[in-house]
Symmetry: C2
Subunit: 200 residues, 2 copies
DNA sequence: GTTCGATGTATCGGACCGATACATCGGGCC
DNA sequence: GGCCCGATGTATCGGTCCGATACATCGAAC
């Protein structure tokens, strides 16, 4: 999960840990996702051990990302991580591997969704539908609780269920819209959508 | 967190692990909360070590909960856990101890909220306001991302932020309503609210 | 010149999850 | 009768991730 997120961000540009964390919480944080250093650094080491990222500046002297990265001077500390070719492959693999963990957790789905621009259309659809099914299940569960036990629960518990149910219904509607757009080949939201190429 | 949830449920009636887990996911599950046995059983042992719950049927031969618990025959397995007097104290302590962890996590807030009926009014208000502040912070963060970076993000990432922002706004509104009701002394939602007894 | 907040790297203990392994029981089915 | 199967039920293990914490550097404010 975290691996996918990190690879995805490093795919765009090399970064050091601090910056990486900021991006993780802002760009991917929308769907409840916050990462602590206690998981970031171990994961970075894991990725390094797998040969998917490497420490140090980009492979050959490039000046493209000059403004993105504050450009480490030779000083001390400040470790910049760069994705390797194997890392890019790994990223693509993880992107299309949409198992149950992709639908189950908020975070998992959020991360996958954030990289949809680089995910192939069929996988996108698969993930959206899987997620929808999952949320629908939760919704049904809460409906049951509300209808069967309306009398046996105190007001607060009841209100909690009611709010949860509403959130689920909203999310299902949102997903349904996304799925419809996906089938049309339209991009999600904006007024003027250009016809995207039809790969696969 | 889990300790609080378990003590709260056992406070209502003794239960065995399986039933406990079901209740945890249905009654408290609304605000994204699912528990696995891998955390349930260790926590039960922790609670037992602390003397807050005890194994076996309720202290003295009571027949009140006959229909609630499937009533273990002498067979095998089937361990029923009962809350102790110290456990009840502990429960009250945890209820009023509303630290940052109460506001930060969905689950933490959900559990506390589910037991609001047994929480004193001032603590309720404190928790609701703390939670609101937290959600407002997240909301502002997302607003910033959306306004500053609207051009630099792809459609999907943008849509993710948009959806997240909307969810935050909803939750803030919900909390605001609850806070207002709390100040009025009204119970949360229903049309005709009877004046609740004012217990300690 | 020194205090302070932002930037930055890193670890440790512990909470929690997912998978898994069992064992028991009541039915349905051949 | 014998069999399997799904629901009920207890329990552990490895691993992921979190929260707290410790440091070190740097520019700006005072």
């Amino acid at each position: 999960m975290l691996e996918l997120a990190i690879l995805g961000l490093l795919h765009e540009s090399p970064m050091h840990g601090y910056e990486l964390r900021k991006q993780l919480t802002t760009k991917l944080g929308a769907f409840r996702f916050a990462i602590s250093y206690g998981s970031l650094y171990p994961t970075l080491r894991r990725l390094q051990a797998g040969g998917w990222i490497s420490e140090g500046a980009p492979p050959t002297g490039m000046s493209a990302s000059t403004e993105e990265v504050p450009l480490l001077t030779g000083k001390r500390g400040r470790v910049v991580y760069t994705i390797t070719a194997e890392g890019k492959e790994r990223f693509q693999d993880l992107l299309s591997a949409a198992g149950p963990e992709t639908y189950d957790s908020e975070a998992g789905f959020g991360v996958h969704f954030a990289f949809f621009a680089r995910t192939d259309p069929s996988t996108r659809l698969r993930i959206l539908e899987g997620r929808r099914r999952r949320v629908e299940e939760r919704r049904e569960g809460m409906r049951d609780v509300l209808s069967r036990a309306a009398e046996r629960l105190d007001t607060y518990t009841l209100e909690l269920q009611r709010h949860g149910l509403e959130a689920c219904e909203r999310e299902v509607r949102w997903l349904e819209e996304l799925i419809a757009n996906e089938r049309n080949g339209t991009t999600p939201q904006p007024p003027s959508a250009q016809d995207p190429e039809r790969s696969s």
